[in-house]
């Protein structure tokens, strides 16, 4: 089954074109890594997929499970199983983590036609996910990401993902800022979610992550386009040589 089909996607902010013709197909069960230099448009692509306002789609289309994704509001995408782990998770004082988790889970369950979980079932579910990402229960009662360290914020994103069990997870530099142990924990969390009916897109700058979570494909995004696709060997090559050779090889 095709999870995501991006066809000739062009997106701009104001009159600046950032995505300049992206083509990418992701099948169910696959893990794709997207690498590329700073400013290439990786986060822009994830934001566009997650439904953030402020971008103009000038050309192209995106199908998610065969449905026109770009017509859906951000919350509709989330309810249908699209999940973005943010590169820079926001702090929201006054909204407790547990409240967020509950509201998010119930929103997804409602869409799926399921009842809300009662308090006891919800808590035991959350506890099992906390174990998965090795987070202490006290984080549940703090404001969302409020005062969390960089690594704690990233773990918190994975906690949300583990709870919501999305069909398409986009992880935007979830590995940045993680210490070695945390990287392992988070990777285990992500690997635990790998399944035949789920697809994962990992945006990363570091080959190391791909040692833990082996991708089926590696893409290089540069200047708003995918300029090269390969397997995990491509990531190793990039680590050694940088991006200049793929960028030069890009015939305009």
């Amino acid at each position: 089954m095709k999870m995501l089909e991006i066809k000739n996607l062009h997106a701009s902010v104001g009159d600046k074109e950032i995505l300049r013709g992206i083509n990418l197909t992701i099948n169910a069960g696959e893990v794709h890594a997207i690498m590329g230099p700073n400013g290439a448009g990786k986060s822009t692509l994830s934001n566009v997929l997650a439904g953030r306002d402020g971008y103009t789609i000038t050309q192209g289309e995106v199908l998610y499970k065969g449905e026109n994704l770009l017509e859906l509001a951000a919350e509709e995408r989330a309810q249908r199983g699209v999940f973005l782990a943010f590169q820079y998770p926001v702090e929201i004082p006054g909204v407790s983590n547990i409240y967020l988790l509950k509201a998010a889970l119930n929103a997804v369950r409602k869409y799926q036609g399921l009842d809300e979980l009662d308090a006891i079932d919800f808590l035991s579910l959350v506890r099992s996910k906390l174990d998965l990402v090795k987070m202490d229960e006290q984080f549940l009662h703090r404001g969302v990401n409020e005062g969390f360290s960089g690594g704690e914020k990233k773990r918190n994103e994975i906690l949300q993902m583990a709870l919501l069990e999305p069909s398409l997870a986009i992880l935007d530099e979830t590995d940045s800022g993680l210490d070695i142990d945390a990287l392992k924990t988070v990777s285990e969390g992500v690997n635990g979610l790998r399944s035949a009916d789920r697809s994962i897109v990992m945006i990363t700058h570091y080959q190391r992550l791909l040692d833990y979570i082996e991708p089926d494909f590696v893409h290089v995004l540069s200047d708003g386009k995918i300029v090269k696709t390969g397997d995990k060997e491509l990531a190793k090559e990039l680590e050694k040589t940088g991006y200049s050779w793929v960028q030069q090889g890009q015939a305009e």
């Binding site: 953030r52 509001a73 951000a74 926001v90 909204v95 929103a107």
Partner: protein
């Protein structure tokens, strides 16, 4: 010769032979007369008055108000529904009249007196009028000449009152355009403790005018937690002065939550008169449609080693208008003052307006003082984050709006009171328009 300014017309008809409680007491009679002279000379404050720059009393002045009411009898059950707390001493005033039947002030803890003001004149004589200024034009003078009832509370030395005292002031709407002038006096002797909630409620949408003055006297090491919840009708005029004097080591925590009324004006003032006295002065205002809310606060640090911590937050929607003017005065002998004042506002609509002016006047040189104010909207990144987790836009906006109030509510240390107030606030959150 009597001069009544244009803005005093709602009260121009008050005749000088009206009678009040305590008229047989020369000191009280003369206090009322002094106030009458003052009010008749100066009338109500006009907009050119600096303190009233952003709050116009014109809509108020166009109204005629009645004194003396038919009161509507309420059942105990109704009263239980209206009250904020179940397990509390309760002092009920309906349409300006004390209701002994609905109040729960029997079997008070030893060392505590709660009485209607009209029956407590002897008790409060040394304090009445000492916390407020009569000389400024306006409502305090009007209140002093007209005060007809109120709650008097005294707590003896070294007594800690376990139960909260809820003052429930209900405007039933039975008498149209009713004006009530209430005076509450709270006296805590040294090393005593109490928790008091003032709760103002309007039962229907009629116009009314509540003019309250609350005087708080805290002796050495006394601790008062004071909350005020104002939920009057959307046509009501609510004018309130809350003024305290604090002796050494006393601690006053006050939090005013203003939700109702067409026009609500609150003057909150404390004088830190003894060393190591401390005040936490908080407030929350939520206004929608054409509501107008105005908070003027003032903290006087008059001696060394006093502290104040002030946090006011406002949420405005529709075409509402908010005013916050907070003044912290650090007098020249008030070395080592530690004062912090914050006012933050969330605007939910294009039509609403806020005038915020935090002020610090500092005449001492060795002090730690900070203040700040912000005016903002719902954060677009926060909104997108919540939506990206599946929350629809309306729920996400409501959640963020509620979250904005969290730090003010979190500063209420009794969980019971915090939960009760948080529920009321949550229900009254302006529905965010998209």
């Amino acid at each position: 010769m009597k001069q009544i300014t244009e803005l005093a017309t709602p009260f121009a008809s008050i005749s000088s032979d009206e009678t009040f409680f305590g008229d047989d007491l020369p000191w009280l009679k003369s206090l009322r007369l002094k106030a009458r002279t003052q009010f008749n000379n100066a009338g109500l404050p006009a907009k050119k008055e600096e303190d009233w720059k952003y709050t116009s009393l014109r809509p108020f002045a166009r109204q005629q108000f009645n004194h003396g009411a038919k009161t509507q009898p309420l059942s105990v059950e109704q009263c239980n529904d209206y009250a904020l707390l179940d397990d509390a001493y309760r002092f009920v005033i309906i349409d300006g009249v004390f209701s002994a039947e609905l109040s729960k002030i029997d079997g008070l803890q030893a060392g505590l007196i709660i009485r209607p003001l009209s029956e407590a004149v002897d008790l409060i004589q040394p304090h009445l009028g000492q916390q407020v200024e009569l000389t400024k034009p306006g409502f305090t003078a009007l209140n002093t000449m007209m005060m007809s009832e109120g709650m008097a509370v005294t707590v003896d030395s070294n007594v800690k009152i376990e139960k909260t005292i809820e003052l429930l002031v209900i405007n039933s709407g039975e008498s149209a355009n009713l004006a009530t002038h209430l005076r509450h006096v709270i006296v805590l002797a040294d090393n005593s403790e109490a928790t008091i909630i003032e709760h103002y409620l309007g039962l229907n949408a009629d116009s009314s005018f509540t003019n309250t003055v609350t005087e708080v006297i805290l002796a050495e090491s006394a601790q008062l937690k004071h909350y005020k919840l104002q939920q009057e009708s959307s046509k009501a005029f609510h004018i309130a002065t809350l003024a305290a004097k604090q002796a050494a080591k006393s601690q006053w925590t006050t939090n005013s939550i203003s939700l109702g009324a067409k026009l609500a004006r609150n003057d909150v003032h404390t004088q830190l008169l003894g060393e190591q006295s401390h005040v936490v002065m908080d407030g929350l205002y939520l206004v929608d449609n054409d509501q107008h809310v105005d908070f003027h606060t003032r903290i006087d640090h008059t001696v060394a080693n006093t502290t104040s911590d002030e946090l006011y937050k406002g949420i405005l929607n529709g075409n509402s208008h908010g005013v916050f003017n907070g003044k912290v005065m650090v007098h020249k002998d008030a070395q080592k003052t530690d004062a912090n004042q914050q006012n933050h506002n969330l605007l939910l609509s294009r039509g609403c307006e806020i005038d915020t002016k935090p002020e610090m006047e500092i005449y001492a040189d060795d002090v730690k003082c900070g203040h700040g104010s912000t005016v903002g909207q719902i954060n677009a990144d926060h909104l997108f984050f919540l939506r990206s987790r599946g929350l629809d836009e309306v729920s996400a906006r409501s959640l963020l709006t509620y979250a904005f109030t969290a730090d003010v509510l979190d500063r209420i240390d009794s969980e019971l009171i915090r939960t009760a107030l948080a529920n009321v606030v949550e229900q009254r959150l302006p529905k965010p328009s998209i």
